[in-house]
């Protein structure tokens, strides 16, 4: 099916599949009342009628894969938890959302926190856990407020606490606010942080499923992964499998940001393409062309307009040389200097490197020095190979995946835009004007400080 036919004939309303976002335009969707009006907690009712192992099997058969970046099958992760071992089991929800470009879990929790809580009760029932945690990044107080309130509401309604819905199953949820550290999104660093320590990754094995929180069997799942579970329980695995592809079934939140006409959340079956999303949403901002984009956050190798038709599922993006990651589609148009963009991402990784291992701690530092020098027009040709050499010494040789993420923007940008690096070196400076990339470029400052807008003259183009 071509993009034209999709938007021209089928229309976006056929292509998009709001599930998690379906209630967001309803009245106070963050409340239990509204959630219930939309079949809220029906998935839990179904789960409590089943045996825990049946719930695990169902989620496994549905084919749900982790939405936190790596795409690991969720049901399989639950199955790894040893049963009858006499130890407490824990569920920890990863709500640290800090991967640059990623902005799906926060709007989801802000508008629909009960989908996560219901999913947590189901998951906890399945893995026999009686105390679950949400590790929420700290810098999002409006989200924290809604989450705290939703948990309180669920307790009051008997959906949490002792003997949930008369099932004999008990569950407590603790909402835990982090304190600013990207690395705490890495699951083992998250566990150390939740134990009141510096957030530094742990050696694996043992994996969290065997020795996680307090050295007990622990499942760590992303917000969106867990929030997707209630619909599977309520509507069935066949329904879930009817969406998406064979190996990447289901629906997911794609987050479009950057130089686009309508940034935002677009919930669609896995396998939709950026071209389709842009066509239905108004395209790249008016008068501009796509230059580069990330399929799943800054840690996933960047793409260009050659990749507009790559199916955005785990296999499709992988085959094209990147990763689906968090489905954070950051779009940059031709006004953007790729050297500037990569320098800033590299500064981010250097800042967030936890310092535990040498390749990442030292390598990111030197990458920043080189990138800054090139951006400032003081680089030399040999710097480009030096960049690749350092990136190669980080990638696959670091203690955790943050290091791999730091190498990705460097290697992918040099793959697609080497000539732009060379231009910085040859011209002894950056040929771009940062003002042209701003959202107010082309608007005229008005007397009272407001910006004036150009009338629409030209429609946005995609590539």
């Amino acid at each position: 099916m071509t993009a034209d036919s999709l938007v021209g004939e089928a229309g976006p309303e056929k292509l998009l599949t709001p599930v998690l976002s379906a209630t967001w335009d309803d009245h106070r969707p963050w409340t239990l009342d509204t959630y219930r009006r939309h079949d809220g907690y029906q998935g839990l009712a179904a789960a409590l009628r089943m045996q825990p192992d049946e719930v695990i099997a169902l989620v496994k058969d549905a084919g749900l894969r982790g939405r936190g970046g790596a795409g690991f099958p969720t049901g399989m992760k639950w199955q790894f938890i040893p049963q009858g071992d006499g130890k407490p089991h824990y569920l920890v929800v990863n709500a640290d959302e800090s991967e640059p470009g990623t902005c799906k879990d926060m709007p989801l929790l802000f508008a629909n926190p009960h989908s996560l809580i219901e999913g947590m009760v189901i998951a906890s029932y399945a893995i026999r856990c009686s105390h679950a945690f949400v590790y929420l990044r700290g810098e999002v107080v409006p989200v924290l407020r809604r989450l705290q309130a939703a948990v309180a509401e669920a307790y009051e309604a008997g959906l949490l606490g002792r003997d949930i819905q008369g099932s004999g199953f008990d569950l407590d949820i603790t909402v835990h606010a982090g304190a600013g550290a990207y690395i705490c999104g890495e699951e083992t660093a998250l566990l150390d942080s939740l134990e009141g320590r510096r957030g530094q990754p742990r050696l694996r094995p043992p994996f969290p499923a065997i020795a996680g929180l307090y050295a007990c069997p622990t499942v760590v799942n992303n917000v969106e992964s867990i929030a997707s579970v209630p619909a599977i329980l309520h509507r069935g695995k066949e329904w879930f499998r009817s969406l998406g592809s064979e190996k990447s079934p289901g629906f997911t939140l794609y987050s479009l940001s950057g130089h686009v006409t309508n940034p935002g959340q677009y919930e669609a079956p896995l396998g939709v393409t950026l071209r389709q999303l842009l066509e239905m949403s108004g395209g790249v901002r008016e008068g501009h062309r796509l230059k580069f984009w990330t399929p799943g956050g800054s840690s996933t190798p960047m793409f260009t307009d050659q990749h507009l038709d790559v199916p955005l599922d785990y296999e499709g993006v992988g085959a094209a040389g990147s990763m689906l990651g968090t489905k954070a589609l950051q779009v940059f148009d031709e006004t953007t200097c790729v050297v500037r963009a990569v320098t800033r991402w590299t500064e981010f990784y250097a800042h967030e490197s936890c310092g535990k291992c040498t390749p990442c701690r030292e390598g990111t530092y030197w990458l920043v020095q080189l990138m800054r020098r090139i951006e400032a027009g003081e680089g030399v040709q040999a710097d480009l190979d030096k960049l690749l050499d350092i990136a190669d010494n980080i990638f696959g040789k670091s203690f955790c995946a943050l290091g791999d993420g730091a190498a990705s923007p460097i290697t992918s940008s040099l793959q697609y835009f080497r000539e732009e690096y060379e231009q910085h070196i040859a011209q002894r400076g950056c040929p771009f004007d940062p003002a042209a990339s701003t959202v107010w470029a082309g608007r005229q400052p008005a007397v009272n400080g407001n910006a004036a807008r150009r009338p629409a003259q030209e429609k946005g183009v995609l590539a």
Binding site: L16, P18, W24, D25, W30, P100, P107, A111, E139, V141, P142, R145, H176, A177, A181, S193, G196, R197, R198, G199, Y214, G258, H259, T261, N262, P263, G264, E267, M280, S281, G282, G283, E286, R289, K291, T304, Q330, F332, E334, F348, E352, E419, P431, F432, P434, V439, W440, A441, G442, A446, G449, N450, A452, R453, R454, P455, Q457, E458, G460, A463
Partner: protein, 303 residues
């Protein structure tokens, strides 16, 4: 108990002396009434975890809510609550960026300068804001009202450029709206975030982060379910059209363009002299859907 003073102050105000191996005196305790109140809070927080030490991050938010920063006294308090050394607590506190090692302003302003926000204007906002306030990154205005910091991606890229005040969202900012915002904060005017509740002070915010819910009436419901970006896909799925949407066209790929690597923007696309007046202000929260507003047509002419 001898290391923490130097450790917690070495990045503090320049005037503070640096300890050179001399044992520092233990930090003073809180006054008795404060201590009694915080003891009760700490007990509640610790009770939420199977293992007490898990309450350390919440406790650090708690002491920050008392003094506006994590002081040596606060470190000592956390250590005593959990049976840790002050060095152990300091090691944790200094790992996380939200724990301040010098007092924050009443309103702590963050400007996202991670790549996407930076490119869309965050860099310019941050530069203009520093100049406007006469302070640098991580400094506080003399009146104690505003401190600023450039922050990393705050999970709001679809609202870029993004700012925060006391960790409530101020979306789709411009240099003008940002300066107006800090002026209003310093003048004591009520300021409403685009997503989040009416601002409370930095210290009150820290208490929410510690795990004590915001009891203010209306705080929970303030600002609805999210702005236009949060609802964009849902609206399309409902058969509605988005602003500026519907007629996007595809042109030839970059590779047939030849001059693609050349920066098209600045030189070719000088600001137009015939810009129309705004229908509504750029900073208007109701100005939905066109965060990446129209810019100069150049380079990518339709073909």
């Amino acid at each position: 108990m001898t290391t923490h003073e130097t450790a917690t102050t070495h990045e503090g105000p320049a005037a503070q002396p640096v300890g050179l191996g001399m044992p520092a005196l233990p930090a003073p305790d809180y006054p008795a009434d404060v201590r009694a109140r915080l003891d009760a809070d700490a007990k509640e927080l610790i009770g939420r975890y199977p293992v007490a030490r898990s309450a350390l991050l919440p406790l650090l938010h708690l002491v920050q809510s008392e003094e506006g920063w994590v002081s040596p006294t606060g470190i000592r308090f956390c250590a005593e609550q959990l049976g840790l050394t002050t060095a152990e607590v300091t090691a944790v506190a200094t790992f996380y960026t939200m724990y301040r090692r010098r007092p924050a302003g009443k309103y702590h302003v963050g400007v996202c300068t991670n790549t996407l926000c930076a490119v869309l204007g965050g860099d310019q906002i941050f530069a203009e804001l520093k100049e406007h306030l006469g302070i640098e990154n991580n400094e506080t205005t003399e009146d104690g009202a505003v401190s600023i910091e450039h922050i990393e991606c705050n999970a709001a890229c679809d609202y870029a450029p993004v700012m925060t005040v006391n960790w409530e969202f101020f979306d789709n900012q411009t240099p003008e709206s940002a300066k107006r915002l800090v002026d209003d904060l310093r003048a004591g005017h009520t300021v409403l975030p685009t997503r989040g509740a009416a601002l409370c002070t930095f210290r009150e915010t820290s208490r929410i982060l510690a795990g004590f819910p915001d009891e203010r009436p209306g705080a929970l419901d303030a600002s609805g379910a999210g702005g236009a970006p949060s609802l964009a896909g849902l609206r399309l799925a409902r058969g509605e059209t988005l602003p500026g949407g519907g007629a996007a066209r595809v042109v030839s790929p970059r590779h047939q363009d030849g001059a693609d690597a050349a920066p098209g923007g600045p030189s070719q696309g000088a600001p137009s002299a015939h810009d129309a007046p705004a229908e509504t202000a750029a900073s208007d929260p109701h100005r939905t859907g066109d965060a990446a507003g129209p810019a100069e047509p150049e380079g990518g002419e339709d073909r």
